[in-house]
């Protein structure tokens, strides 16, 4: 697999074992800035595991996961959080802080990155508005419906245009209008330079993403089929010469603090 300066995420020969069964068998994947990859697979095929490995949430048994050209498993455990700050991750079962409001939940990634309060809240409101949740911004998450909670979790994953966005079953339990909202929101994140990796068992949703330009890969028998994704250019919106503020200003500073190399391409 050739190295590419635009490459933000790279899985090399990743093998994962669960209950003595090989779930991911030497999976390799390369994702570049602006790419949109959707991984389709049946339930139990290992999609969620693959996505959690890509999101630096779980370390594989074997193989390497390079984010920004650096294998995050080579880092000290105390440095891994600084890598995670560059990843917007939606787990299959989103975890939210129940007693806090939708706005407080969505703004958290920017709070962790140390973005000034006023600017972060303004961005969070925009993100909620994009998800059609502006009316519920100040409601506690515990009072929201399952679909609203999922939208809040997606907004949290997309906020601040992280380098890599990993979404596991983003459309789970959502209707057509909400799915369209998600697709549009992902498009905005890509335009800001993010690489998007989606996983879904929903064929209709996968088709919808494909129709919007996503590259489709299939995970079966622990192997990825469909070849390495190609660069996808979003015409008229992407500007590689101007990285998003999070990409350059915040992340580099945080990574300097952690004394590790930047994960930003």
């Amino acid at each position: 697999m050739s190295s590419n300066t635009d490459e933000v995420l790279r899985l090399e020969e990743v093998t994962c074992v669960r209950r003595d069964k090989v779930v991911l068998d030497r999976v390799s994947l390369s994702v570049r800035a602006g790419d949109w990859v959707v991984i389709e697979g049946a339930r139990g095929s290992g999609k969620s595991l693959l996505l959690s490995v890509a999101a630096a949430a779980i370390a594989p048994r074997r193989g390497a996961v390079l984010i920004g050209g650096r294998n995050w498993m080579d880092l000290q455990a105390s440095s891994v959080p600084f890598v995670r700050r560059n990843i917007g991750y939606l787990p299959a079962e989103p975890v939210l802080i129940e007693h806090e409001t939708a706005l407080e939940n969505v703004v958290l990634p920017l709070a962790v990155r140390g973005v000034p309060v006023a600017a972060a809240l303004a961005r969070a409101e925009i993100e909620l508005q994009r998800m059609g949740l502006q009316e519920l911004a100040h409601e506690p998450v515990s009072a929201l419906s399952p679909s609203e909670r999922r939208l809040v979790a997606i907004a949290r994953a997309l906020i601040g245009a992280p380098v890599v966005i990993v979404l596991d079953e983003p459309a789970g339990g959502l209707d057509g209008d909400d799915r369209q909202l998600i697709v549009e929101a992902i498009g905005v994140a890509r335009a800001a330079g993010a690489a998007v990796l989606c996983g879904s068992a929903d064929a209709a949703f996968v088709s919808l993403l494909q129709s919007q330009g996503a590259e489709r890969l299939t995970l079966a028998g622990g192997r990825l089929n469909g070849g390495a994704p190609r660069m996808v250019v979003v015409e008229g919106e992407r500007d590689d010469s101007v990285p998003s503020p999070i990409l350059k200003e915040v992340s580099e500073e945080l990574l300097d603090d952690a004394d590790i190399e930047a994960v930003i391409p």
């Binding site: 370390a59 105390s78 600084f82 939940n105 962790v112 140390g114």
Partner: protein, 304 residues
């Protein structure tokens, strides 16, 4: 998360959970109150015990016709009696000076004492028993023996008052132990609440913050800061309550024992010293910080 975000989230958390926060302050205040109360009781018991040990237990009043040499011989004789710790000869002038000093605050009595001549009050030998003596039995037996000596007109045994003081000291010690026991139980309950009620919420919040790339230090220190601050406020509340209440409790104890000596024993007793306050507050803060550390995430990777 930087300081601005930490303060903002702390402020919002306080606003959202005012009742729970006040409950925590109350728990720490109760714990501090009980610990401080136990310390005060121990201090009072020590003061009373010291007074019991150094008090005059028997007074032998001498006849007017007893000369100085004979009085000195009698004092030597009393010193050889088993159970006697020390003796002091008090002449008429010293007795009058002490009486005037004791009645100084009574304006009417002061006028009456002016007319009393120096030789009016009887001379006496004040006897202090050794700490291991049985005040009730030894004091009475000694009083009987001294009363039979020629030249002694009257013997006053203070055994009853001493016994009351001893009872007071015992009561204070028991109260102190009871308060300490209650403090331990309260501490256990506080810990139990932390283990149970807040655990789910705390684990959930930590999981989210970890997912978003928050470091362990940044997750733990605001929580420790919050519980430490709650402990300090609780300690201040406890100190205030003790300061307001300890005078009343002292008066009640004196009234309960109905002993004149008890009030003398309490005369020099003060409130908690700055060192006591510092140690108590430090203990509560350490407890608070420890609770803040409970269930904190550890930096470890999950593997598959």
């Amino acid at each position: 998360m930087n300081l601005a975000w930490t303060l903002r989230r702390g402020r919002r958390g306080l606003k959202r959970r005012t009742a729970r926060t006040l409950g925590w302050v109350g728990a720490f205040a109760l714990l501090g109150f009980l610990l401080g109360g136990a310390r005060l009781c121990a201090e009072r018991a020590r003061t009373v015990s010291a007074h019991v040990g150094g008090a005059v237990h028997v007074i032998a009043y001498l006849r007017e016709d007893m000369d100085g040499a004979r009085a000195a011989a009698l004092q030597q004789l009393v010193m050889r009696v088993p159970g006697v710790e020390k003796t002091e000869f008090v002449d008429s002038a010293e007795a009058l000076r002490r009486l005037r000093a004791a009645t100084k605050e009574l304006a009417t009595a002061a006028g009456l004492l002016e007319s009393i001549e120096a030789g009016f009050l009887p001379r006496s030998i004040e006897i202090t028993l050794s700490p291991d003596a049985s005040f009730n039995d030894d004091g009475r037996r000694l009083a009987d023996r001294i009363a039979a000596i020629p030249g002694v007109s009257e013997v006053d045994s203070m055994a009853a008052g001493v016994m009351r003081l001893r009872a007071l000291a015992g009561l204070l010690r028991s109260l102190g132990w009871a308060l300490l026991g209650l403090a331990l139980i309260t501490g256990g309950v506080v810990l139990g609440i932390a283990l149970g009620r807040d655990r789910r919420e705390r684990v959930q919040r930590d999981a989210v913050l970890e997912l978003l790339g928050e470091t362990r230090v940044a997750i733990v220190w605001p929580r420790m800061l919050a519980t430490g601050a709650v402990a300090v406020v609780g300690a201040l509340v406890a100190t205030g309550l003790l300061y307001l209440g300890f005078g009343w409790v002292d008066a009640s104890l004196q009234s309960l024992t109905n002993a004149a000596l008890a009030s003398q024993a309490h005369a020099g007793a003060g409130f908690l010293s700055p060192l006591d306050f510092a140690i108590g507050t430090l203990f509560l803060v350490v407890l608070g910080l420890g609770l803040g550390l409970l269930f904190s995430p550890r930096e470890q990777l999950r593997h598959a």
